[in-house]
């Protein structure tokens, strides 16, 4: 099958089963919201998909190709972290261009791509701003641009708007959806807010808290 397939993933941290036989799929170009209360294992599932932590059981495949053993830096999955997690020692352009520099792109191509992305997220001219001076909303946009820059095959969004107020969250949610659809990038969007899920995603999956085993309810 094309796109992401997560099959029967189980993950135990210490004595707690954080994920138990979780199965989800994200088709190409599709935006899926992953709902669930805090502690349901949403972030952990993203980390398994991104290759940041090894699950106890189950498989993650892309276009039918098993990703086991594929290190995070070769999976081409972009991630937007909860608190943006911008590199504090680099300015806005340095953050967005990071993945392109690592990929060995030419300086001029990187500059052009940074400008294009900044325009996409509505922050034109922000290249040389110190990331410490950005507002929460601006930092979130830069984090989104940074994740999109190296053309990821899947975007993982880990509650990117959780620190923002309602109005801004609604506006950004709509913007992100429009942007992803325009670029055709499939995404898995973690949130605990059904309203936000409805705003951003094509469909939503609920991850129940895992005390007695996770159950999946698709809507």
């Amino acid at each position: 099958m094309s796109g992401l397939d997560v099959t029967a993933i189980s993950l135990r941290l210490g004595d707690v089963w954080v994920l138990r036989e979780v199965t989800i799929a994200v088709g190409s170009g599709e935006i899926v919201a992953l709902l669930g209360p805090s502690g349901a294992g949403k972030t952990s599932l993203l980390r398994v998909i991104a290759g940041l932590i090894e699950p106890d059981a189950g498989s993650v495949t892309w276009d039918g190709h098993d990703l086991r053993g594929e290190p995070a830096h070769r999976r081409r999955m972009g991630m937007v972290f909860q608190d943006a997690l911008l590199f504090p020692h680099r300015d806005v352009a340095g953050n967005i261009g990071y993945g392109l520099e690592i990929g060995g792109e030419r300086r001029s191509a990187i500059a052009a791509r940074i400008e294009e992305l900044l325009e996409l997220v509505g922050l034109s001219g922000f290249q040389h701003r110190d990331v410490a001076t950005l507002s929460g909303g601006q930092a979130g946009r830069v984090a989104l641009a940074r994740a999109l820059a190296p053309h990821p095959r899947l975007l993982l969004l880990d509650e990117p708007f959780v620190a923002l107020d309602r109005d801004l969250r609604d506006r950004l949610g709509a913007e992100v959806r429009e942007l992803l659809k325009r670029l055709g990038v499939p995404a898995l969007h973690v949130t605990h807010d059904p309203h936000e899920a409805a705003l951003v995603a094509d469909r939503a999956i609920t991850l129940a808290p895992s005390g007695d085993g996770s159950s999946i309810v698709a809507t």
Binding site: G14, S44, A72, H73, R76, G78, H89, A132, R146, A149
Partner: protein, 563 residues
């Protein structure tokens, strides 16, 4: 930031730090995940970083120390342990250390209240002035006190104790003061509304919150005064010799290496006892309390005004030895002149075989490899400690051992083994910077490690997801974030290398003394010209070490401002 985490330099870690937001916001899951074996994105293996520091320490610390121990346990060494003179020296060492520490703390506590809680004109200047002595090389402190004390005081307990108070006041004031500044004054106000008198407030509120800082400062000052070498060598006399000076006298003047090694044994045991005891007291670590930088208040009560006055007088007293240094560098007979300054700046033989000018260039030449080695090895060691997944506390303490070992012991060990170690350094000048690097390395570790520990590991996750393999992530995330701390530690290492006296006095070759060694030589010889030149050279050394330390402090301030 752990309140028990004591930095020897007054600047970096004693200043209050507001908890940064990035570590606070990590979700509970992320914290469980940290340290898990299945984490796939990790910094490069600690072995890459730890191997070179381990080899360096094995060669230049463990092996020399073992040699010292073996000689100390030999028959000649044991006989030194049973002689009465040895125990007189031990008694005097303890006596001066206890006296110096007690007086430093008794004077330092009220001064730290005045300097960190009260508001008065010139407060910052006074704080800076009282901090200056701590960055002075010990030899300069000795030279300065020579200039200010009446000749009859030289060689007495009083002279040593006064110089130790002058030297260590900054430790108490900066360490205790920076904690005092963070004690929320509303705790005291709440106690007052509950009927507590000022003394009750001190006993039930302030002291419990300050206790860990006071104990940390006390054990640090005790350690410094117990192992003090340069000050005692220059101000002490035949009857006022400490263990460190006696080790030096036996090894260098009497060539009694087993006897010197036996005294090193005593010294090591004593230092271990102090370290263990202070480790115990650190565990009584105070109460966790809300940190809040309280504003300084204008002194209102009579007692507070008297305290401010006394602190100003203390500042004048601290300035006196420094002024005396300046005066004796400019006083020629009964007139003023630049004769000694000219004598110092002339290249070519003057008083003895070497000129002061040559000692300056020797010191600066040694500083380069000393800084490169200490920052390189210390930086690598910090990465190794931060990246090991198990046993990092053990590794951390192992790397701090050279700090617990006195500089004189390090010097003696290197002297004994330079001729017969696995690496033949006999006659090589590199042995001097290696000794200085050993002294500076733990300071580098203490400066760099907290920055690495505060680094959010998820930044490496972010780098990996953007395509960076582990080493690239290290080079583009860890290293640039570390660079400022490495700069700070390089400044400290320059300062240590230029002023280092304990280890250097064993290792410097007769023909090429460093500045502190040359100053000590000049002071040994009578005559106004020698004293004047020693003073002028001391001022040059002071300016060099203080500016290196000031650059380091400025860098660390910027760091706090930007994070």
């Amino acid at each position: 930031m752990g309140s028990g985490d004591v930095a020897l330099s007054p600047a970096p870690s004693s200043s209050p730090t507001v908890p940064t937001s990035s570590t606070e916001r990590v979700s509970p899951t992320a914290q469980v995940i940290r340290g898990d074996d299945r984490l796939l994105v990790r910094p490069p293996s600690a072995w890459w970083f730890g191997t070179v520091p381990m080899m360096f320490l094995a060669l230049f610390f463990v092996w020399p120390l073992l040699n010292v121990l073996v000689r100390g346990f030999s028959a000649d060494g044991r006989s030194a342990l049973t002689s009465m003179t040895t125990w007189h020296v031990v008694a005097f060492t303890l006596e001066q250390a206890v006296l110096s520490t007690t007086l430093t703390v008794v004077i330092g506590l009220p001064a730290s209240y005045a300097l960190y809680r009260l508001h008065f004109r010139g407060r910052r200047w006074l704080l800076a002035l009282i901090t200056v002595p701590f960055v002075l090389p010990t030899v300069v402190v000795g030279a300065a006190f020579r200039g200010v004390l009446p000749p009859s005081w030289l060689g007495t307990l009083g002279a040593i104790v006064l110089a130790h108070i002058f030297f260590n006041l900054a430790v108490v004031v900066r360490l205790v003061g920076s904690h005092w500044a963070q004690v929320d004054e509303r705790y005291a106000q709440a106690a007052r509304t509950l009927g507590a008198a000022p003394y009750d407030v001190w006993r039930t509120i302030t002291w419990p919150l300050l206790r860990s800082a006071v104990l940390a400062a006390t054990s640090l000052v005790f350690l410094f005064t117990f192992t003090s070498f340069g000050v005692v060598l220059i101000l002490g006399g035949p009857t006022s010799s400490t263990l460190e000076v006696e080790i030096y006298r036996r090894a260098v003047s009497l060539f009694d290496l087993p006897g010197a090694a036996a005294l090193c044994l005593l010294q090591i045991v004593a230092v271990l006892v102090v370290l263990v005891a202070s480790g115990r007291t650190q565990r009584i670590r105070g109460v966790r309390h809300r940190i809040r930088r309280s504003a300084t208040v204008v002194p209102r009560s009579g007692a507070e005004r008297i305290l401010v006055g006394a602190t100003v007088i203390l500042g004048v007293l601290v300035a006196l030895p420094l002024l005396a240094l300046l005066v004796s560098s400019l006083r020629v007979g009964d007139r003023w002149g630049l004769d000694w300054w000219c004598a110092v700046s002339v290249s070519g033989p003057t008083s003895r075989d070497v000129s002061a000018w040559e000692s300056i260039s020797t010191s600066l030449t040694y500083a380069v490899p000393a800084v490169v080695v200490s920052v390189g090895i210390g930086g690598l060691a910090a990465c190794a400690v931060a990246y090991t997944r198990r046993g990092h506390e053990l590794l951390d303490s192992a790397l701090m051992l050279p700090l617990g070992t006195s500089a004189v012991t390090l010097g003696l060990g290197l002297l004994i083994t330079s001729a017969r170690g696995p690496v033949d350094l006999r006659g090589s000048w590199l042995i001097v910077p290696i000794g200085q690097a050993l002294v500076a390395m733990p300071l580098v570790l203490r400066t760099v490690l907290p920055v690495l520990r505060a680094l959010d590991p998820r930044l490496r996750d972010a780098a990996a997801l953007l395509g960076a393999p582990p080493w690239v992530a290290w080079r583009t995330v860890d290293l640039p974030i570390l660079s400022r701390a490495l700069g700070v530690s390089a400044g400290l290492a320059v300062s240590v290398s230029l002023g280092e006296f304990g280890a250097t006095s064993f290792l410097a070759r007769a023909g090429s003394p460093t500045m502190p060694i040359h100053i000590a030589h000049l002071l040994e010889r009578p005559g106004e010209s020698n004293v004047g030149q020693a003073a002028a050279l001391s001022i040059i050394l002071l300016v060099l070490t203080a500016s290196a330390a000031a650059v380091a402090e400025r860098l660390s301030w910027n760091r706090e401002a930007t994070t």
